[in-house]
Each structure stands twice: as structure tokens, then as C-alpha cells.
Symmetry: C2
Subunit: 282 residues, 2 copies
């Protein structure tokens, strides 16, 4: 990068969980942050060169894969250069002076509502208004200043936008994490890269996926995630997005991957990057 | 059922794609239909006995699994007694006399927007307003009668609610199908049942899923769908929802399933029912 200031496209807004993931990845580097309201804007900004990197959520430990992100990274031919993990702790935020009894309308990202489903089952008369992100929901409630409006977002977003916590810990799962991909226009393989993300499809025949997984097993590459995604125009055939532990520079791993490629009808390595566990917990 | 009128809980509203699936399944039987605005209401109505059966979408050939439905069927301990397939053909609907130039706000289910993503990328100044279902979006636009409002829904919904088609075929994929589950409080195994849906989890160790798929492969049971879902409270461990061709009453299939159960940390058969292909295409 040299003297050039880093440009990072970040989904959502200041105070969003994605913003926290970006700070974890690039915290100590001088940077310009481009906030994007849609996942597609982030991926396009990276592909078209307006940003050097992008940060997008790709999996939540309660609600599962954020499948649109998988499709976009593949569609725009971006590479995965890193991952981050952020603990999600949703609270219900209102304007100063509001109480729970004042609320009749709540803004959040649809995932925010999904992660607090049990809390909202008790509040069926409240209007759930889906919005672009949790942080933008907090910003909107703060900006409009109405006592009947609340937002589901992080405590950090509440502090940043001057809202108060009306109800704490409203997610149904206290052990709730979101995993984020750091994407770039091309692969970057750091020395401590130990996780590979790839996407493949197999012949539409019995046992095809089984044989692919056999290559990983006998090649000693532990699969940590598998997500199936539809193939456009081929109803009920699938791409498999797979995360495995391994290094492209390790000849045995490379050999295993060549074997899988030879039996796949589509095969693409999206990245080889340092896993979150590797950096923070070992 | 005898003389008792059939009670069916149906997601969405009259004119919805789910309604079409219900008509395909129960068309010639006298029935009372209970429309439910949330997936959870359908599953609860079946579990608590207000309905004999429920109809919910569970997979779309463009946007993938409707993962909340998987979680709910498992959570409320319902059984899958059938499946249906409906071709999705979204159009943009407006009030009579409106033109494309009048529109600034569009209502649809979030899946409706997702399936028409490419069309809406060109209409970035339109406000996308997520709503409960495509059919309810059409009903709302008809009821409010405003020229600036449109809905993404089926041609059938447009006819039913007296709206006109402003733009035809706006989904990015003309070969777009949704698969529906017919659910009940307990399993019902028809004589022509040939598909099994089950959910399992495996030990968090290398090769565990590979060995499960080996049982299916060597047991001659073709896997047609695999969806991974997070396990609450165990970040980044997964339930696998699996569809395989087979019959519980076939001793060889039953033996294969017993083998898989013995190596699973969780194992539950959700249903054995006649597959759509079996009934319509063979």
C-alpha cells in the first residue's frame, strides 16, 4: 500500500457489528471507510476498485449463513483475505426518557428481529419495521426522536447515537457470534494462513458429495463449514461453499484439492487466510 | 378424518404461492383454511391442534433454503407428511391507471425482493418496503389505492385483488420454483412414500459428516438436499437437515438409518412422504 491511505468498504454504519469487525482487522492502520447500505455495494466497491478491501458478515452462530453474501462474492469474483468474529449482544434502544410502555414500532435489520424472535413473540402488537442495519436503525430512531420508536442494535450503537437501553440482552441466545469475511480483489496468502474457503459443484449423481468429502478426510483437511446454495437456472442442484483447515502452499493440501477439482463440475478457491481461532485463541 | 372438515393452516394469504401449493395438495377436499402471517403461527397451529395440517415454503430454487422453517419444524416437533412444488413468476403490480413512472414505493416479502434483485438494482430510488407475504403486499396496495405504490407478487394475486401488471417477469431467473412442506402433528407414511427428511448432528471431529454420507451411499439412498443449520448455544456446530430417497418400511433403508443413528449425537426422522417428482413427472 505504501503511503496510500487504505480504503475499506464496510457494510452498514458506524457502530454496526460489521464496523467492530473492521476495527479488529484494520484497527491500527490509517484508513478511509466507505459505508455501504447493501452487501452488493461492498462487493462491487472492491471489484471495481473504489475500495482496497471490504467487510461483510457471512455467518451467525444462531441464524446461520448469510447466503446472499456467498452468492455475491462468487458472482463478483472477489477473494477472501481474512475473517473476524464479533460477539452479538442486542439491546432494545429508545430515545432518552422513553419507557417500554411508550413503544409501538421497532426498527432493526431482519437478522436482528430473527435473533430476538422469542422476545418479540411477547410483543405481537409492536410493529416490526425491517431496516438496512442495526446501527442505521439506532441512528434513525435517534434522528427522529419519537418516544414510540425503538431499535434493536448494540449497546455501542446506543452510546454512539445517544439512545438509552430500554431492555437488555433480548437475543434468545447469549452465546451469539457473527463471523465476517474480509474480501479483496485478489487472493493474499499470509504466512499464517491456515483456512481455505472454496466453492464447488458435483455431478448430479448419487455419492458425488460423499466422494468429495472423502478427499478432505483422507487428506487430513478438517472441514469446519458446509453451506449449500442453489445454482441459478438448475433447479435443485447446488453449489457447496466449504471451509477447510489447510494451506495452499502445503504440497499435500494442494494435491488433495487437485483431486477434488478433477471430480467437480465447478471448482473455485475463494481464499486462504488466517483463521480467527488461530490468531486469538491459540 | 371421517366427516370432520379438514382444517389447514396456510402461510400468507389467498393468492399467495403457498396458497397454490395448498390447493395442489388438498384441492379436491372440503376444508377450512386458516391464514397465518408468520411461519411460526402455522407450525404452532399444527402442534397445538387448531389445524390438522400446515403448509409452509421451505426452499426456493434461486435463493435457497428458508432456514427459519427448518428450525421451527424441529423446535415444535412436527412431522413432514408431504411436499409440493410451485413455479414462481413474479410481476410488478400497481393500481389500475398507474404507470411505472408513478411508482416510488414497493411492497413485497423479503424473498420477493431477493428474487428480483437485478430488477431493483436499476430502481435504487424506489423505497423497498418489506411486508409479510407477496399476496398480502398485493392486498395492501389494492386496499390503499395509491398510484405511487406497487407490489411484487404473482399474476394470480394481481387478478384476485384487482391490480394491473406494470412489469412482467421481473425475477432474475425464469426457472424459479419453490418447494413446500405439508406438515402434520405426527408422521403419516403413504404407500407411495419415497422420500425421507431427517435432521442429525455429528461429533465435532474430522470426517464425521463424511462417514454419515457413506452410510447413505453404500445403502443406495440418494441424498437430494443437505442444509446446515446452527445449533443454539454451540457456536459453529451444526444440525444437518437431509433429504434422501428411501422408505422407512424398506428393511435395508431402515438398517442404513439405524447405522447413522448410532454414530450421530442427534438424530430425528421428520417424515417419509411421496416426493413431488414421483407424483407429477414419472
Amino acid at each position: 500500500m505504501g503511503n496510500k491511505k487504505l480504503r475499506v468498504a464496510c457494510y452498514g454504519a458506524r457502530g454496526a457489528y460489521t464496523y467492530e469487525a473492521m476495527e479488529k482487522q484494520f484497527g491500527n492502520r490509517e484508513k478511509e471507510v466507505i459505508f455501504c447500505p447493501l452487501f452488493e455495494d461492498v462487493v462491487k466497491a472492491v471489484r471495481e476498485g473504489q475500495a482496497d478491501y471490504g467487510v461483510v458478515p457471512m455467518e451467525n452462530s444462531s441464524t446461520g449463513g448469510i447466503t446472499e453474501v456467498y452468492d455475491l462474492i462468487q458472482h463478483y469474483d472477489c477473494a477472501i483475505v481474512g475473517e473476524q468474529m464479533v460477539k452479538i449482544e442486542h439491546v432494545l434502544l429508545g430515545v432518552p426518557g422513553a419507557t417500554l410502555d411508550d413503544i409501538d414500532t421497532v426498527y432493526s435489520h431482519p437478522q436482528g428481529f430473527a435473533q430476538c424472535r422469542e422476545f418479540f413473540m411477547e410483543k405481537r402488537n409492536w410493529k416490526q419495521q425491517p431496516y438496512f442495519s442495526t446501527a442505521q436503525s439506532a441512528e434513525k430512531v435517534a434522528r427522529e426522536g419519537k418516544k414510540n420508536q425503538a431499535a434493536v442494535a448494540s449497546r455501542t450503537a446506543g452510546r454512539l447515537y445517544g439512545l438509552q437501553v430500554l431492555k437488555d440482552a433480548i437475543a434468545f441466545n447469549s452465546s451469539n457470534y457473527t463471523r465476517f469475511f474480509i474480501i479483496g480483489p485478489a487472493m493474499e496468502i499470509a504466512d499464517d494462513a491456515d483456512k481455505i474457503t472454496l466453492v464447488l459443484s458435483v455431478r448430479h449423481e448419487s455419492g458425488a458429495l460423499y466422494h468429495v468429502l472423502g478427499y478432505f478426510f483422507y487428506g487430513g483437511m478438517n472441514m469446519t463449514h458446509l453451506e449449500s446454495r442453489p445454482i441459478k437456472g438448475k433447479p435443485f442442484e447446488y453449489f457447496f461453499h466449504i471451509d477447510v483447515m489447510g494451506k495452499l502452499r502445503n504440497p499435500a493440501n494442494a494435491q488433495t484439492l487437485r483431486g477434488i477439482e478433477s471430480m467437480s463440475t465447478y471448482f473455485k478457491i475463494l481464499g486462504n487466510y488466517p483463521s480467527y481461532t488461530h490468531k486469538e485463541e491459540s
